[in-house]
């Protein structure tokens, strides 16, 4: 904790990063979030626990958000939200209804003083103090790639795909059901536990050898007995599953949409002058990127594609070395950390959306909305 605290910020702003699976919450100017909790809400009417973003109508989302934020404020952060400033880390390409509902909940129901929305990819870079990088966010529902050059996001080169934690869980389930495990045993938490504790990303040579089939396969990693004690059963997790589950991110396909392809295509969509700088600054954030062996495999795959794939070989020239950044802290809250850094500065005064402004129009300024981006507008 910093020894001095600036006088004008007696109450540090609250920084929230509400992801699809986990929410990171804490205060600005702190080096790690106070809590990382699952984004689930217990319905006060029925008592069942469900994911926050499973909703039917926007009104239902509103009520669920109220319940969710209520637990965050009064059970975890232990502060009253009234008259406090907020920093919300969000995905610029996320659904607008989420943004609008969140703003409405905060301003109308909880009466906060100001909210600042920061984009994930840009703010994650601030933890490195580097202005240029290719930021890859591997989350639960999707993976998104966004190049940032000199502090500006190159929106045209944004790429995303729907493989993330959820897809890995589905793959584990599919493979286990094939080996004969009962499907009712494989709940979400069991799958997540298997993924986190046993799986890893294997090397390219082994993956290719396995894909080729044949007798020359390397011996798989040893399997593991996973004990599910709720139903008192033992699931045999074969070693091949441990290695092969993350291959969904590296599957070669004609559409060129596996992870290394996304990266290369995104770089190609940028203009020529920024490409070299981006190649030498690749930054992975997000919970899904904490898996063992991902960086090494990614590097191998990228170099392999540059050399072998004609589509890329003729577009990339020169001696290219892919270089990666190491995040400070853990990758699953790097975006939150960026938000905390931002909230510690004066930007919170100048750039946030203040309550009065919001209540006049009941609308959050959005980059995609022309009304907010007119050059002659007020």
């Amino acid at each position: 904790m910093p020894i001095y605290e600036s006088v004008m910020q007696e109450k540090p702003p609250i920084v929230l990063d509400i992801g699809t699976a986990y929410t990171k919450l804490g205060f600005a100017a702190e080096a790690y979030p106070r809590k990382i909790m699952p984004t689930e809400v217990v319905m006060t009417t029925t008592g069942i626990r469900k994911r926050l973003f499973d909703y039917g109508t926007p009104e239902e989302l509103y009520d669920q958000l109220v319940d969710f934020l209520q637990t965050i404020f009064f059970k975890h952060l232990l502060v009253s939200p009234k008259e406090r400033k907020f920093v919300l880390v969000e995905n610029v390409f996320g659904p607008t209804v989420l943004r609008e509902t969140l703003a409405r909940v905060l301003f109308v129901h909880f009466d906060v003083s100001s909210v600042m929305f920061v984009p994930v990819h840009l703010i994650a870079l601030s933890t490195l103090a580097v202005p240029t990088a290719l930021v890859i966010d591997i989350g639960y529902s999707e993976t998104s790639v966004m190049p940032v050059f000199s502090g500006v996001q190159i929106m045209g080169a944004f790429k995303d795909q729907s493989y993330g934690g959820k897809a890995v869980h589905a793959e584990i389930k599919r493979q286990l059901v094939e080996t004969g495990v009962k499907e009712s045993l494989l709940t979400e938490s069991v799958l997540e536990d298997i993924k986190v504790r046993t799986c890893f990303v294997t090397t390219m040579e082994r993956a290719q050898a396995r894909a080729k089939g044949g007798e020359d396969q390397p011996t798989p990693a040893p399997g593991v007995d996973y004990i599910v004690s709720d139903n008192d059963a033992v699931i045999q997790v074969p070693g091949s599953l441990r290695e092969a589950v993350y291959e969904i991110m590296f599957e070669p396909s004609n559409e060129r949409d596996s992870l290394p392809h996304l990266i290369l295509r995104s770089i190609l969509d940028c203009t020529l002058d920024v490409r070299r700088a981006l190649v030498e600054s690749v930054f992975l954030v997000g919970g899904g990127s904490m898996v063992q062996g991902l960086l090494a495999r990614l590097r191998q795959e990228l170099h392999h594609l540059l050399a072998e794939d004609p589509f890329y070989a003729e577009r990339f020239h020169g001696e290219l070395q892919f270089k990666f950044f190491n995040a400070i802290g853990k990758q699953n809250f790097t975006a939150w950390l960026g938000g905390a850094l931002c909230g510690a500065t004066d930007l919170i005064q100048t750039r946030s959306l203040v309550k009065e402004t919001y209540l006049k129009s009941e609308h959050v300024p959005d980059w995609s909305n022309l009304c907010d981006n007119r050059p002659t507008g007020s």
């Binding site: 007995d225 004990i227 004690s229 709720d230 008192d232 059963a233 033992v234």
Partner: protein, 185 residues
Amino acid sequence: MPSENRIKILPKAVVCEESNLRGDITFSSGCVVHPSATVIADAGPIIIGENCIIEEYATIAHRLEPGASWDVNNILSIGNHNVFEVGCQVEASRIGDKNVFESKCFVGRGVTVSNGCAVGAGIKIHTSQLLPQNTIVYGEQGLQREAIDKQGSQTLQIDFLRKVLPNYHHLRKPNYDPKKARSVV
């Protein structure tokens, strides 16, 4: 099913009169068996190691498999320094040394318990598995964890019980076993 009970109590073992014992059971020296403890040796003899504590309403059973009968070679050997707390039900096929079975736990037949394990209170283990050394089973979902630190020894408790139990309960007299059968693992 044995028709008579053959219970061998070695010297220094404290076995209360009110405990329910059935079958061929050997209590090694230093054991303490509380009243209302139950030891059932249906499928074969049970040999309980030294300095074991079997508390009230604990059940140690060597059950018959369906279709099998009493076999004198089917010995359930329980190691030394084990603690069976109140209300636990242990039907494991083999138990090592220095384990703790907390209150109201249930350990099924297929489970083999090695040394230094602790099964938490209320946990039911049905699946056949081998509990490796120093495993602690805890929590609502029966998670397992390897203990890095050894379990504390119970010598203090055993000494206290040996002094106090005879004051309040009738004991079964130890009958010397000249062969001095030790616990065989």
